[in-house]
């Protein structure tokens, strides 16, 4: 019951007009856990629908987490038709462009009543600049309360509609969001970082 296509058709039937606002996100890996990419404006509506639909009953929000996607350079081949000297021919060029980075909140939903899942919702904020607003799903699943606070603390996504949005783990005077990929902790004592095999990414048995 967690096939995204089936979910999308149920959503379209129950929430007319949601087709353009909820898309399928395909997982390239072998785990087969595909997700639904939900437009932030529609997230609350979609979440309530998924929770209360009798065939889905996704009553259990297991995991909520943030992901920081940095801007990245994408090189792709673009084929265009050009007319050179009255002759039309296809030209393939390598084009490099920069995809903007964004912050993402990922929700893993299960149904305790019907024992199926996971259904994965992905909400993408417009960019990486604070406050990076997204709607809070805590009114739908209370389990998101602390986890969304943690994302606010460590990633800097501000969840609108959250009952108590404060830093969860760090103190209030802390500046910055340390789980972001470009966060660098200030050097306090001039000691070099310990270069372990693990830190360099080499697996050691």
């Amino acid at each position: 019951m967690t096939d995204p296509d089936r979910l999308l058709s149920l959503l379209e039937a129950g929430l007319p007009g949601s087709a353009g606002r909820v898309r399928r996100w395909t997982n390239p890996g072998p785990s087969g856990q595909d997700a639904l990419l939900v437009d932030p404006d529609a997230a609350l509506e979609v979440a309530l629908f998924l929770r209360d639909h009798p065939e889905l009953q996704l009553d259990y929000c297991s995991n909520v987490t943030g992901v920081d996607w940095l801007p990245r350079e994408v090189t792709e081949s673009v084929t265009t038709t050009e007319t050179v000297g009255g002759e039309t021919k296809e030209v393939t060029k390598k084009v490099t462009r920069t995809e903007p980075g964004y912050l993402e909140a990922v929700y893993h939903l299960y149904s305790v009543a019907l024992r199926h899942g996971p259904v994965i919702l992905r909400l993408r904020a417009a960019g990486r600049e604070a406050p990076a607003p997204l709607p809070s799903l805590t009114p739908v699943w209370r389990s998101a309360e602390f986890q969304e606070r943690e994302i606010f603390d460590l990633y800097g996504i501000s969840f609108s509609g959250h009952p108590d949005l404060r830093r969860l783990l760090l103190w209030d005077e802390f500046e910055g969001h340390p789980m972001r990929k470009d966060y660098v902790a200030p050097d306090e004592d001039g000691l070099p970082a310990i270069e372990t095999a693990a830190a360099k990414g080499e697996a050691n048995r």
């Binding site: 209370r142 783990l169 697996a203």
Partner: protein, 386 residues
């Protein structure tokens, strides 16, 4: 200190003739407190001895596990998972290995699956054993029950040490299997421990279940109905104590749990007494699983020969895996970008999310019950704050 005016008593309910106005008292419990199970802190607002508000404060053991893991190889994070819930290193290992195996599509040989079940159930036994000791300590029975618990736990830790070289931080599981095979005589020693456990549990039940003080301190305390627990993401023994049959060993049937016959003990009211009894009964079921797993343990390799330990790069993609740890649903969420480090590494900590309803459980209770309720949730701060 911020003192807040209390609302006057509703008409006709005041316990004394001229109630006047009482002042609410703001009280900070922790982070150094003998019964907060580590460096947990609660800000309570009290009306006399009754809790009016209670806010948990986290982060005193936030040691950046997730960020460190995103900067090191997949395998190098394995010993760090030991230190999440430091009572249950082997179940943490299993949750992480299970997720990486999903991410990379790795199979696990049968013998390794059996070993994982045996070690996970031994972990559950020793976790619940010390849980009893700490919970009774929170009620004021400081010392004796904990001492019985630790004596029995040490028998299990000896098995872990003989197998993995460490009492607490086992670092034993590998992606696609286990690190090494059993040393000679280990299965027989494990059998001895398993056989000695029912006697210990009988002793504990005799000591605890009919105790008048324990019943008075636990019955009707801290109960929340199952539907709200589910909505708040509460999992594990707390959910089952409220009468909901939800155990991932049955729901997901991960590993080879479908081969064992065991029952799911269920409570009725979800109060502290039910939570305590659930743990006692769960230990008996774990013993049943251990009994058949030790009997049926097959021969064979303990690690998938295709599993790569060096330069391990799972294919791009993501996976969420979860297991029934002794505390509840322990999940890992990994995103791979084909580099040796995970792009995103997330732990879904049962201890943190089980605390979501702590305030609801405590409001209206006496301040002395707060520690008992907190003890019955069974948190470990290494996992709450990570």
């Amino acid at each position: 200190m911020n003192l807040t005016r209390a609302a006057p008593w509703p008409a006709g309910t005041a316990p004394f003739a001229d109630p006047g106005e009482t002042e609410l008292l703001e009280l900070s419990l922790g982070p150094q407190h003998p019964s907060t199970h580590g460096v947990f802190r609660m800000n309570a607002l009290l009306d006399g001895e009754t809790v009016v508000r209670l806010q948990p404060v986290f982060g005193y053991l936030h040691r950046n596990h997730e960020q460190l893991a995103e900067r090191m190889s997949y395998l190098a994070s394995m010993p760090f998972t030991d230190r999440l819930d430091y009572f249950c290193s082997l179940t943490n290992n299993w949750a992480y290995a299970l997720t990486v195996e999903k991410l990379a599509g790795l199979e696990v040989p049968e013998r390794a699956e059996y070993l994982r079940v045996i070690l996970a159930e031994l972990t559950r036994l020793q976790n619940h054993t010390v849980f009893l000791g700490f919970l009774l300590g929170d009620m004021g029975a400081w010392g004796s029950v904990l001492m019985y618990g630790f004596r029995q736990r040490d028998a299990v830790l000896d098995l872990f040490e003989a197998l993995t070289g460490s009492r607490m931080m086992c670092d034993y599981l590998r992606f696609g299997g286990c690190r090494c095979d059993l040393p000679p005589g280990w299965a027989a020693a494990a059998r001895l421990v398993v056989d000695s456990y029912p006697g210990f549990l009988d002793e504990m039940e005799q000591l605890l279940t009919e105790n008048e003080i324990l019943r008075a301190r636990t019955m009707g305390i801290g109960g929340v109905e199952a539907k709200r627990l589910v909505n708040a993401g509460v999992s594990g023994p707390l959910l089952r104590a409220a009468g909901l049959s939800h155990d991932l060993r049955k729901v997901d049937r991960y590993g080879i749990y479908d081969r064992f016959s065991f029952r799911i003990p269920l409570g009725e009211k979800g109060d502290v007494y039910d939570r305590l009894m659930i743990r006692l009964l769960e230990m008996r079921e774990s013993l049943n699983i251990l009994d058949s797993a030790l009997r049926d343990l097959p021969e064979g390799p303990v690690i998938n020969p295709q599993a790569k330990l060096r330069n391990f790069r799972p294919p791009a993609g993501e996976a969420y895996g979860r297991i029934e740890s002794p505390k509840g649903e322990l999940g890992f969420y990994l995103i791979s970008d084909q580099s040796p480090q995970p792009y995103r590494y997330r732990v879904r900590p049962p201890s943190l999310i089980n605390l979501t309803l702590l305030e609801e459980m405590c409001v209206g209770a006496k301040i002395a019950d707060v520690m008992v309720i907190l003890g019955s949730i069974d948190i470990v701060l290494g996992e709450v704050d990570r």
